[in-house]
Point group: D4
Chain length 213, copies 8
């Protein structure tokens, strides 16, 4: 735990055997291991070992995230994070954020696909999230939903550009650019960086509950 | 007149003497000359010659555009163009569009500074433009106003990215990117290209009035 | 239907099961569903369900577009759109535009491969399109055909940059850049954005037929 | 006041007369006006009017920010923001953030020039800021100070890339890139965007004091 | 003389005194000196020395090029270069090319402003250049004139992108990109590189006259 | 034949059936067809038809180019093109150039892998090419060989950047940039554009043999 | 051997048969051949030949590097190179550097995964490397470890940006940019360029042992 | 002194008064102050104070660098650095490197303008530098001189890209790219970063003289 943020293993860019070894080592040593961008078959392997060694293993396919644990999840501290996505392709990134925020003791309320074609669902969604301490809004293509949300709520809004789209600036660059240039007050994280958004929002939510930590 | 679009002189990048010469040659030969991005002192010089030679000269400082003419403006054909801007820095570009559209026989209705801080003025503005045949929406920074307008009207919306902003993609690139990536149906022109937007919208508006041209 | 533009499902970036579900839900609920960038095997699956449930399903392989419907296509309103391509690799994008424009009630006239090596076919093609209310011109590599067409017709021309080419700016960037910088009056949409071009042109063509909509 | 964030006038890109007019209109109507990137001579003019009309005007030269007011500053709500800079060239951006955060009722603690050559001052500076609810860290060139701070504190850290440096990616791009790619948990705002960082941090700090707002 | 190409001094980026010294040294030593991108006042200074020391000095203001010489220009070898520009802003670059080609013994035929608005002058211009051994075509903005010319002549066409234009890719990048992506056969040189184009065309023209050199 | 350049079919980006159809149509109609970037199995298919219909088909695997013909190759006109590559990965591009140049009646002399590790072979190679009318030099990574050659010969040198390399600017961009910025006189074509280089050099070589064409 | 650096074969971008041929030719002729980015099955083939012909072949899977040799490795000259990596994904690049440095007679000390999550291992690692003549530090994502190391040691530090990461500047660009902009004194090589870093560091280490070479 | 590198004040981006204050504070406190990118009039001011307070002040106009000192320069340790430039515009950067290297106790041998037009001076220059422990080579435009030098010497070569040139990649990017992509073994520093190159080379040269430091 670095500054109250759980150590998280990034599955991408590691070879299969090495990744499995790191995950197992961490769960054995610390009683809990979160890993992101993990291929499904790696999670199968971990689950087998989990069965043998008597620990648990949850795999979240949308986020391609895995939580292996012998120790229970951290207690809820009362902080609340609202997570929204503009479309359905942004859900994988939002789910990565959700898992981290929950692992950091937050209650998370989600509302997916509430931009563009689903914009009529935005107001009900925000009403349902009233009382949230921070918002995460994931959006690809032109990436305008975070600014819209920031215009409607008074708590901090974190924009996550998503690499959906095609053509000019279609790998999340237009979304990143429009979030950074926004007239609304939003902060951003890297393209597709659900982990960072989730941990950052959880830091805010935790701080809203207690004076020190 | 190329395809019903008046020949327009681009003042930028020409040296002073040469620019004056071209403008005078055109007004003398064709009875009317429009020039964009013209320094104020060039317009003063043209006005002096106009007084001597008995033609007229209007200078539009916001757009830095000049119309010198002996012949009257083209008759109104009934087509209507609505022009909106997100902020006040976008007005120079919107005005360039307005002048061209008027020179092409359109009635133009404008509403400036109706995005961001002035967003409460957007609905009344659009009501006032009801019946427009095409819309031009100029916006800098994150450039989202065109998409918003396109979600509210059923006529074509042309987005003009404007080079206001600073930092990453701050010279109109974020606006261009977000317009091109927009989930709404909009077409775009180059950054700051008021001329192109005005002429394109006027082509649409003219076509909406008569079967052939 | 948003502002007279049919809701269209973007197949790209959605997983197979989810995509099928969305398409079926829409055709069942609204009686008609258009989807673009749909893999052929997804269309096979939809066709099977269509046979069972008694609706129709057309698949356009060049455009990778699918139209599933119980309700008939909208009536023709009399508006006409001309669609041209520079080469043969641009046809997939042009076909996407055609399907949308037809779904919006336009008559569409096409002429493909009339740039570069087929430039001698351009004049006959344009003659055949006389009376069109708007033009769509798709072109890759240096992307100059839209400007050429705009110099020959007096109706609006929409340029669609296509991601064919190789090397420097070879994924449609050179085409996008040359269209935006063009001295001719053209508006552009995103690289490969057949859908946007088709819907935008249809808005123009529809407006040319009736005062209001 | 939009979502608890004061309306702020951006001086850059507006012409002199227009800027003065907007500032005066706002202070007369709302009793308080904050403007950033304001040339010194504009502030002189405002001060003259202030003297005549009986309101106050503070000019902060480092930030080139102006606060004109008849009404007192908002009461402190108890929230605390820590602001650090890596070098001395980052101070102008940090000061812009400070003024906004204070206008939003925060107590602000600053420590400037504590990166690179002044890194030995970092630990004492952080000790002095203990109890801060959020941190803003402004850094140019390689922009690593925000990540260093985030590794030492458990409250949210907002990175502000600054456009100092020269050569490759020397206008803040390297700093932006390294903050977005950071293994530490930080959120970022646009290059030089002191205003956004200040308002965002103030939202966090305010939320840490009271359940609702 | 490097490979039959005269040594040319690039005035840009050298300080005034140093530039004058280099030019004088070369003309004194070799009897002839060509310099490009030379400020007018430097040429005045050289002319004064020329008067004293008894050599000649021609200054070409459009190209900002200077030729100082005691020795006569090289004899014409019979090779011919045709130089065209799309607009009037491209002339400064074309003139730089012309001077070098003439210094390398070519006869040069020019036709300026024969693209875009002046396209009706293109056919007469090409007729007048019949028999040219190579063509140089300078064009800014979308840069399509070189490809048009290459489709009409059977001799090599060299495209020179020019840094006129504004907005996206407006400093010659769109022109460079469209020339490199062209379906026509053209070779290109750097943006604004009149010198390189002139020397390269002269190499071709010289080779067309004699078997060896 | 456009301006003395044979029509060449670009295999890349066309689907298999369509590509075969175009090639067969052209060889049947004109007696000769050149196609580049053709997959090997397409050439097999063409060869089968060739056997049946009694025409010939040569496939050049390095260049992935195919020549199908009933008519003989054009007669040699005496012009000579020298083609060099820096490394072995550049050969595929050089071979594409060679085939076009030969199809345009040139004698071609090649010397591959004479840069970097093979630089000691450069001088003998150039000696062997003495009398060439034009040079093509293909190079990836830092792309400096064309400038080196241009410093040693007095005939025109065409640089072809090749997309070998990795990391920063590793897809031919560094080579393109260094060729365009070169102090030596060279003209360039697009990255990997062997076809353009070959046709351009052949135009020069042909012109060096005869006054008119 | 060029300037004391062994000729190294780059396996990437060469076809299988050609690569094998080059490696065999070199080991037969010079008694030793190093090749990088070599697929495992190529090394198998070389090993077979090695068995037949009586030479040796070592394959380093992490670096995908192969050393085939009949002659022994060069004698140690006493120079020492320290190699560190920030994460585990950087090891492949570090290993490439190690092999080259050892082939150039250096003793190499490595410490991998000592940045980010493993930063507590940095100090012990550096202590263990005391007396090194040069350091190589490989790092992806934000690439800050080289600057940290350079602040702690007085010998030259070479930064190697690694193409791990995702999103904006995620292919090593952020790391490259932050190393070039660093306030610490470091020199850099291309993204993933282990070979260059290893050879450069070995040149330094060798020079630290003997006055001339 | 950080790791044996003197603290150097970067004059760029600091305001006049602040810069003077920093320089004076450092010379008073430490007895010696080096500052780069210092405007001439700042050095005049420092010289006046120097006269009053009895310390010395040298200003190097080419490098715009200033050394103010009461203490003598560090003793020569015997290490030698060779500095070369391709052209005359690169001298300002080379001089910055020279001053730092001398301040770090090196003997420096320079040879300027030995690339491109002055390439015949390269061999004599290198002969004169025989025995150097490290080389710095500054070059703009295509930036190939460092690779050429690296092919001729066996000591480490540091390339410094210089921001001379125009057009595509003309602000040092082509030079940076070609140095990073070079087949020769060179390390690079940021565009125009004379300071970094000088300090890095001095670290090497110092290390070549003594086992530890
Ligand atoms: N999906 C993710 N996106 C960004 N950072 C991550 C992600 N997952 C893990 N990390 C961080 O990346 C680092 C993991 O590095 P590694 O040692 O390569 O596993 C840690 O600092 C994690 O906190
Ligand atoms: N503000 C403008 N933006 C874009 N194009 C313009 C503008 N003003 C004029 N033009 C067009 O640019 C060309 C003017 O070229 P020139 O011959 O240089 O005056 C004509 O095709 C005009 O229609
Ligand atoms: N390898 C190649 N590189 C560049 N252009 C080519 C190549 N092969 C053919 N071409 C040109 O590309 C166009 C072929 O277009 P298409 O009609 O799609 O076959 C023609 O103008 C050819 O001359
Ligand atoms: N010309 C220069 N280029 C790069 N870095 C420099 C230069 N001059 C000084 N520096 C470094 O930049 C930092 C100076 O920062 P500052 O505290 O802003 O003066 C120190 O780390 C210096 O070593
Ligand atoms: Mg808000
Ligand atoms: Mg609409
Ligand atoms: Mg037209
Ligand atoms: Mg922290
Ligand atoms: Mg031709
Ligand atoms: Mg030559
Ligand atoms: Mg150090
Ligand atoms: Mg060497």
């Amino acid at each position: 735990v670095r500054c109250g943020i759980p150590e998280v293993v990034l599955g991408e860019g590691k070879d299969r055997a090495h990744l499995i070894e790191i995950i197992l080592m961490m769960v054995r040593k610390t009683g809990r291991c979160i890993a992101t961008r993990v291929p499904e078959d790696v999670s199968d392997e971990i689950r087998n070992v989990a069965a043998e060694e008597g620990f648990s293993c949850d795999y979240h396919p949308a986020a391609r995230a895995l939580v292996a644990y012998r120790l229970p999840a951290p207690a809820l501290h009362g902080g609340v994070v609202g997570i929204l996505t503009a479309g359905t392709s942004d859900i994988r990134v939002a789910e990565e954020a959700r898992i981290i925020a929950e692992e950091m003791g937050c209650r998370v309320i989600t509302a997916y696909d509430v931009g563009a074609a689903g914009i009529h669902r935005l107001f009900p969604a925000l009403r349902q999230m009233q009382g949230a301490d921070a918002y995460i809004v994931a959006a690809g293509r032109e990436g305008t939903l975070p600014a819209v949300v920031a215009g409607l709520v008074s708590r901090p809004v974190i924009g996550v550009p998503v690499s959906t789209g095609y053509g000019y600036m279609g790998q999340g660059e237009a979304a990143l650019g429009s979030m950074l240039q926004s007239c609304s007050v939003i902060a951003v994280v890297n393209i597709d960086a659900g982990f960072t958004a989730g941990a950052f929002a959880a830091q805010i939510a935790r701080g809203a509950q207690n004076g020190e930590d």
